[in-house]
C-alpha cells in the first residue's frame, strides 16, 4: 500500500518535472512547423521525414547514436557542474582539448593496441579536467564568474587546437592544396574506438552510457552526490555542515571536465579518427549537451535520452533537407527555441533564488 503510494508519487514527480521540457519541445516543433509552412512545405511530411531519417533505419539510428555520444558526455558535464551550483559552460573547450589530446596520443604514442586507446582516453580525461579546473581556480582566486571564464576559455581552446592542427601537428600526409579543414594525422585503426558490431555505432556510445550510469550512481548513491547537491541547493548550509566548498569546487570541476574531455575523445577516436579543425566547435555538441541537461533537469538518465532526441533532430534534419529541400536551419531553429524556452525556466529560477536570498537577508539583518 505504502510502496504503491510512493510509486505514485514518483510518477507524479517525473510528470511534474517533464511538463516544461515537453511543452518546450512541443512549442518549438510547432514554431518549426510554421517556418516549414512559410517556405511552402508540408510540416507533417517534413517531420515524418525527419523522424524516419533519425530512427527509421539501422544506418540512420546508428548515425543518430554516434552523434549523440559527445552530446551525452557534454550533457553529463553540465549536469555535474550545474547541480552543484556552478553554472559553468566550458564543456566545449574541454571537449576540444580532449579530442585533440586523444587524437595526438593515439597517433604519436608508441603503445600497442588497446593500451594506446586507454592512454588516449586518459590523456583526454586529464586535459579536460585540468582545463575545467582552470576556470574553477579563476573563480576561487579572482571571483571570475563561470559564464565569462568558461566562454572565453572555449575560444582559446578552439583556436589553440586550430593552431596545432594547422601548423606544428598538421597531418604530414595531407595534401597542402586540398580544400578541406586542417587535421592531425590519421590514427591507426587499432587505436580507434571500433564499432560494437560491423555497421553499428562505435564503442564510445557504450562508454557514454556507462558514464551516464556512473554519474547517476554518483548523484544518488554517494556522499559526493549528497555534498554537491547540498552545495548547489544552499552553499552556506553546506559550509555550515562542514562540507569544504573548495574541495567540492575542484572535485566537481574535475569530474565535469573529465566527462567533456572524454566526449571529445570518443568523437576523435570513434567517429573522425583524428582531430579535424572545428570538429567540435562547428557541430555545437557541447551546446546540445547543455540543452539536453536542461531538458532533463540535470538528471543523467534523462540527459542521455534528451541527447539522443537532439541528435536525432540534427541527423533526421539532414535527411529532411535532402529529401524535401528544407534547409537544415529549421532544425537549428527548433533547437534554438528549445534552449530559449528552457532557459526561461533557468532565469526564473535564478530570479526567484535572488529574490528569496534578498528576502531572507532582510530577516537576517534583524
Amino acid at each position: 500500500m505504502n510502496s504503491k503510494r510512493d510509486s505514485h508519487k514518483t510518477l507524479g514527480r517525473i510528470l511534474d518535472a517533464a511538463t516544461q521540457p515537453l511543452v518546450a519541445i512541443l512549442i518549438s516543433l510547432l514554431l518549426g512547423a510554421v517556418v516549414i509552412l512559410i517556405i511552402g512545405k508540408n510540416p507533417v511530411a517534413a517531420y515524418g521525414e525527419m523522424i524516419r531519417g533519425a530512427f527509421g533505419k539501422r544506418v540512420y539510428l546508428m548515425n543518430t547514436l554516434k552523434r549523440a555520444t559527445p552530446i551525452i558526455m557534454g550533457g553529463l558535464a553540465v549536469c555535474i557542474a550545474w547541480r552543484s551550483g556552478y553554472e559553468a559552460m566550458g564543456g566545449e573547450g574541454q571537449m576540444i582539448l580532449g579530442a585533440m589530446a586523444a587524437a595526438l596520443a593515439a597517433y604519436y604514442l608508441p603503445l600497442p593496441g588497446a593500451l594506446r586507446i586507454l592512454a588516449a582516453l586518459l590523456a583526454a580525461a586529464v586535459v579536460g579536467a585540468l582545463y575545467s579546473m582552470l576556470s574553477g581556480w579563476l573563480y576561487e582566486k579572482f571571483d571570475v564568474t563561470f559564464v565569462i571564464s568558461t566562454l572565453m576559455l572555449n575560444y582559446i581552446a578552439n583556436y589553440f587546437a586550430a593552431y596545432l592542427c594547422n601548423y606544428p601537428l598538421r597531418d604530414p600526409e595531407a595534401n597542402v592544396y586540398q580544400m578541406q579543414n586542417a587535421q592531425t594525422g590519421k590514427i591507426p585503426s587499432f587505436a580507434t574506438l571500433p564499432p560494437i558490431i560491423k555497421g553499428w555505432v562505435h564503442w564510445g556510445f557504450v562508454l557514454a552510457l556507462l558514464a551516464v550510469f556512473i554519474t547517476w550512481f554518483l548523484f544518488s548513491r554517494t556522499t559526493f552526490g549528497y555534498k554537491s547537491r547540498m552545495g548547489g541547493l544552499n552553499a552556506r548550509f553546506a559550509l555550515y555542515g562542514g562540507i569544504s566548498p573548495r574541495r567540492m569546487l575542484y572535485l566537481v570541476m574535475i569530474l565535469s571536465g573529465l566527462m567533456a574531455g572524454l566526449g571529445g575523445a570518443f568523437e576523435a577516436l570513434g567517429s573522425k579518427g583524428r582531430y579535424v579543425d572545428q570538429m567540435i566547435f562547428s557541430t555545437g555538441y557541447a551546446w546540445s549537451g547543455m540543452v539536453a541537461a536542461l531538458l532533463a533537469g540535470m538528471n543523467p538518465v534523462g540527459t542521455a535520452v534528451a541527447s539522443i532526441l537532439l541528435a536525432g533532430l540534427a541527423v533526421g534534419g539532414s535527411t529532411m533537407m535532402l529529401n524535401m529541400s528544407i534547409p537544415l536551419e529549421v532544425c537549428n531553429i527548433i533547437e534554438g527555441i528549445i534552449t530559449l524556452l528552457m532557459s526561461v525556466k533557468l532565469v526564473r529560477i535564478a530570479a526567484s533564488n535572488r529574490k528569496a536570498r534578498k528576502a531572507a537577508k532582510g530577516g537576517e539583518a534583524a
Binding site: 555534498k227 544552499n234 555550515y240 532582510g362
Partner: protein
Amino acid sequence: MIFEMKHITKTYGKVVANDDVSLHLNRGEILAIVGENGAGKSTIMKILYGLEKPDSGEIVVGGKPCRFRNPSDAMAAGIGMVQQHFMLFEPMTVAENIVFKNEVRRGPFIDRAKTLETVEALSQRYGLKIDPGARIADCPVGLRQRVEILKILYQNAEIIIFDEPSAVLTPLEVEALLETLRSLAAAGKSIVLITHKLQEVMAVADRIYVMRQGRVVAERLASETDMNELAVLMVGHPLASYDIGRPLTGETLLETRDLCLTEGGRDVLRRISLHVDAGEIVGIAGVSGNGQSDLVSCITGLRSPTSGTVTVCGRDVTGRPVREIRDAGLAHIPEDRYIWGSAPEGTLEENTLMGKQDEEPFSSRGIVSQKEIRHYAERLIGDFAVKAASSQQKMRELSGGNAQKLIVARELSLGTPVIICCEPTRGVDIGAMESIHRRLLRRRGEGAGILLVSSELTEIMNLSDRIYVIFEGQLVGEFPRGSMDDRRLGLLMVGGTLADEQ
C-alpha cells in the same frame, strides 16, 4: 463591523489548515489572532489578503461579499499586510519606497518635491516618524517596518494585518511598534495582529481569537482574560515553568581568549574572552547586531578571527575548517534556519543528514545508505514531534516552527559536548519553544556546555546559568543566574553602565 469571514475552510492535500473558521473585525479595533505555528492563523490571513483561495466560505468587507484573486484586489478593498519579511528596495529612499507603484507625478515625470511633502504629511498624520530622504539600506529594522506601514497607509488601507511584526525587532523597537498600533487604531484604522507573543497581545489588543489545529477555539475580550488563560488555550495544556536547578559545572568545554575580528577597518569583535563549562548554559545577551553573529561565526569556523584563540574540548581550533571544529565536539544551531541551517529545496532526509554524511552507518567508503538515512530522519521527526507528512518532503514545506525543531533535532542528536545555540526559538510557537527549551536543559543535565545567543531577553534569563552582556563587539559584563533583572541587563545592552541607573 468592517469585515467578516464566514465558515472558511482551506485544505492543503490532506492537511486541514482552516476548518470552518469564522471571525470578524470591528472598526478601530486591534484584533489579535494567537495560536501555535500550524494552527492556521497565517493561512486565514493569507486568504483575507488574497494570497490563497479558500475551499469554501465567504469574505464580507464593508457589507459586500468579496472574492480576492490576488493581493492587489485586497489592497483595492482597503486591506494591507505588513509581512514578516519586508519588501523594500534597499538602494532607494524611504519616500520612494512608500510611493512605489503610486508615484506622485507631474506630467510623465516623478515630482520629487511633492513626493517628499506627501510622505512627510503622511508620517505626521499618523505620528510615524521617519526621514523621507534616508536610504532604506541605512535604516534599522524597526524603521523599515515603519516604512512598510506607511506604504500601506499611503494606499489608503483601512485594515492592516501584521504578521508576527515583533519577530525581527529589538525590545525598544517593539515598544515603539506597540505605540504605533495604538495610534493607528485611535486614528480609526482596524488592526489584525498575528502573533504568539502574549505579552504584546495583552499590551495592545482589544479582542483575541485563539486558534488551534485550524479552528478558532476561543474568542476573548482582552479585559476578560490573561496571559495564562491564553497560553493554556493555545497549547491545550498548562505550561511548565522553568526551575532549571543547580548546574553541575565541570571542566571548561569551550573557551575563547582575546578574540578579535576586524572587518573593513571596523572592530567587529574586541578581545572577547569567555568560557562555557560542562553542565551549564551560558547566555549572551545583547541587542542584535552587536557582534553576536560574528562571534558565533568565529567560534564555529564560518569565519576566521583576526586574532585570539578558540578552544573546543581542549583543542585549539582557531580558524580551522568547520569540519574539524565540529569533529572536536561542537554542534551549532544557527540563527537563521533557511540561510545557514537548511537547504529549503532539499528533502527532510537530506537536511537531517548534514554533518553526519561521512559517518557510519549513513555512509561507508563514500557510498550512502539510503535506508539508514531514512530511518534516522524518521526517528528525529518522531522524537522531536516534527509535523511532517513524509521524510521525503521538502524542507520548505514545513512550517517555520517545525523546520526549526528539525534543525534543533539534528544538532542536538549529534551528542556533542559543546552546543552553540543561536535564536533557538525565533518565530516559533509556545509549544515548540517549550519543547526546544526542555531539550536544551536535558542536554545541559547530561553535561553539555551550551552557549545560548538570543535576542529574547526572557529566554536568556530563563535558561542561563551565567550571562555575558555584549555591546558593540565587547563583553561588558558577566553575571551569575538571578543576580540581574531585565531592566538592568537592558541598560547594559544599550551601552549604559550600572552607575547610570540613578
